[in-house]
Symmetry: C2
DNA sequence: TAGATTGTTAATCGATTAACAATC
DNA sequence: TAGATTGTTAATCGATTAACAATC
């Protein structure tokens, strides 16, 4: 068994845990600003309204050890979370579909805190091509292929209309993209090894509306 | 026990199920377009890559009965899903924070398919006040209070900077908002009965980056 | 009729929560 | 020392998956 195989067997972190980690990170950064040097799981749990045991378990994925009666070192924990999540690295991404949502993501400065950096955007609309949003140039979609040969971009952000999503996703994969952040409603049919992370606004709307209607009756 | 109490005990639908329902709805609408009159759970499951048994169970929440060997009536199922999700009603919403993400949501026509209609947006930035995005007027934040008295809006969309999110959320609640769709990273501390649905971009980025890094090794 | 699919009930799986010993 | 908190192991809870009878 070679080195690369060994790493593959490292502890898999569950998706619910993974989704909670950025919340901890944000809160810890606030606390650091306020000069808090040590912080306990119960304190975090109270603020983010989740179980202290769960906080302990979640934070254990970083490998940071806390001290009983004291808690965790704030700075150490922040650093370890950023490292674990990859937020301190710069992960370059292409964006295709510079419409409303696409432009918002481009302008959304917070993305740089995520270690996710959109280095180029593509569109087929001639009105948009040549313009810039949030400092990112919008290029002719045809240039995706020539550009991806030179750059080694692994992440694609898909904010096109639904009806072209499948085709664009396939193009992305052919250009070397290994993970797609999908904001469309399309059900992408791609090779097994391509990572697809779908963020469906309608799923959230569904949960919100249903809860609201439930509480009415 | 009065009528309103009785309804509260109706079958609670789990959040994972709820989140899958809009995906079924989108696929079914595509199928209807193509003239498909009946559709089976295995067919749906294959396309959306999930277990047929799960599809059956999920769809059962609508109350629609399928026929063995035939499947479900496409039209009936679409109608029942829309009804169940509340997507065929118009649920009015306020939006506060007409920045990048806020503007994207305003322009995002798809929202009308969600039965979620933004009827007014608010901001404190004088440059934005008076302008329109996606046909929605951006009003002075101070007008939130006077306007909410006349309108009976239950849903608030929160797309402000993190540092004012708590204050704005409290204002929304004081204006009669019962459910908040929170796009900020802030940990909102609100009365128990207020429904908060947080959509955290960083949670998705975390899952995406982690999966990508896992697959590298 | 034969066989695919529904719909329900049971088994499995995984995440959350509880319990508790270790320790600072 | 006393007691709060960590960190681990066990119990619970809920969702997914499997099994299977009913049925069109």
């Amino acid at each position: 068994m070679n080195e690369s195989r060994k790493y593959k067997t490292k502890k898999q972190v569950s998706e619910p845990t993974l989704k909670r980690l950025p919340g901890y990170l944000y809160f810890l950064e606030q606390q650091k600003e306020e000069g808090v040097l040590n912080i306990s799981a119960p304190t975090i749990g109270k603020k983010l309204s989740c179980d202290p045991t769960q906080v302990v378990k979640d934070l254990s994925v970083t490998g940071i050890k806390g001290k009983p009666r004291v808690g965790y070192n704030t700075y150490e924990l922040i650093h370890a979370l950023e490292e674990f999540l990859g937020f301190n690295r710069i992960n370059e991404a292409f964006l295709v579909g510079a419409g409303n949502l696409g432009s918002a993501l481009m302008a959304y400065q917070e993305h740089q805190e995520l270690g996710l950096k959109i280095i180029a955007a593509f569109d087929t609309d001639e009105v948009k091509i040549g313009k810039s949003v949030g400092g990112i140039h919008i290029l002719d979609y045809n240039k995706l292929f020539t550009l991806s040969g030179r750059l080694n971009v692994k992440i694609g952000i898909l904010t096109t209309p639904n009806n072209v999503a499948q085709d664009v996703a396939e193009d992305m994969v052919n250009c070397g993209v290994r993970a797609i952040w999908n904001f469309t409603s399309a059900n992408l049919d791609l090779p097994e090894d391509v990572i697809v992370q779908t963020t469906s606004m309608s799923s959230y709307a569904a949960v919100l509306l249903r809860r609201l209607n439930d509480s009415d009756k």
